[in-house]
Amino acid sequence: MTFHQRIFALSLGIGIFIVILEMVRRRRLDEDDSFLWIITGLGIVVLVLWQDLLQWLTNLTGAKAQTTTIFIFGIVIVILINLYSSVKITKMNRQVKELAQQVALLKVNEK
């Protein structure tokens, strides 16, 4: 990685980390839901600073450039976050359905 690339990736990682931390502080995001995002930010920082690890991962994936490895890392995490959100939505849909049914049943009994 060139110096230029490293500075860019490092700023991106730190930027993500700070934004997420601030959102948790303002309670716009729960700690639980921020976990994978924090990993994204910190992970990029670690990969940029720990050159040996980055090179090892690059060899592992068969990529030519180290930047590709950081890219893949980002995409994998985003896929995981999306999947996690979908699972949560499924669960919430089920809970909302259950709630609506309970409300309907309670209302009948009141009459």
Partner: protein, 236 residues
């Protein structure tokens, strides 16, 4: 009959639901429950004026979930048998007796009314018929029984089946071949009974626009995961 409940899921069926209820009254004195699935028209008033007990969902949940609400209610109230039918007059109430009889007699747990067994002169559009046939073949293969009308919402069932339908295993949108396969794998006996059906009048079909394509995908996936799940899971 004190132990029989008729369950009718209804979403914006004003103008049709009252005549459906009147029609049912001619053939049975069973208690009638209309589940209004977040209707925004006069469905609730019409149904209760026609003498049905109305269960009102606060917003639209989908056909399967509305039906399930009805099952949960009648289970709680201790009914031993239920007949589910549509609000739009598509299902002929004269068939209720022939549908419930095999369930009453303990011959089967659930009787599914089929429009394709010569009970009437139902003429569906070609695409719809092709879709029903396709899933009927799949349901037949995996349930080891001849299934002709897996989409039928005209069914008579006992408590055992109601309990399965009230569980999370029951789909919130449109129960189809996946439920037939689930019944089979849960060790529930089902049989088809010929019933006359009419095409519903003045109503937009549940399966319009691009939805059929999504529906086919969703149903194939649903059937696949039903088959992948362990047999024990569906057992109650």
């Amino acid at each position: 009959m004190d132990d029989l409940a008729i369950i009718i899921p209804a979403y914006n069926e004003a103008g049709r639901v009252a005549s459906t209820i009147d029609g049912i009254r001619k053939f049975t004195d069973a208690d009638i429950f209309v589940v209004s699935d977040g209707s925004t028209d006069n469905t609730v008033n019409e149904a209760s004026e026609a003498g049905a007990k109305v269960i009102e969902l606060p917003f639209n949940l989908g056909y399967g979930a509305a039906l399930q609400t009805g099952f949960k209610y009648v289970l709680k109230k201790g009914y031993r048998f239920a007949v589910q039918m549509d609000a739009d007059g598509q299902h002929d109430p004269s068939a209720i007796q022939s549908l419930i009889k095999p369930v009453y007699d303990g011959e089967t747990d659930v009787a599914v009314g089929s429009r394709f067994l010569g009970g009437g002169d139902y003429k569906a559009p070609f695409i719809r018929r092709a879709g029903i046939f396709f899933f009927a073949v799949i349901a037949s293969v995996f349930s080891g029984k001849k299934v002709t009308d897996p989409t039928s919402g005209f069914q008579a069932l006992n408590r055992k089946v109601m309990e399965l339908y009230a569980s999370n295993a029951y789909p919130a949108d449109y129960p189809d071949a996946d439920v037939i396969i689930m019944l089979h794998r849960s060790g529930i006996a089902f049989k088809e009974v010929p019933v006359p059906m009419k095409r519903s009048v003045g109503k937009v079909s549940m399966h319009g626009g691009l939805k059929p394509i999504y529906y086919i995908f969703k149903m194939l996936l649903s059937i696949l995961v039903t088959l992948l799940r362990s047999r024990e899971e569906g057992r109650i």
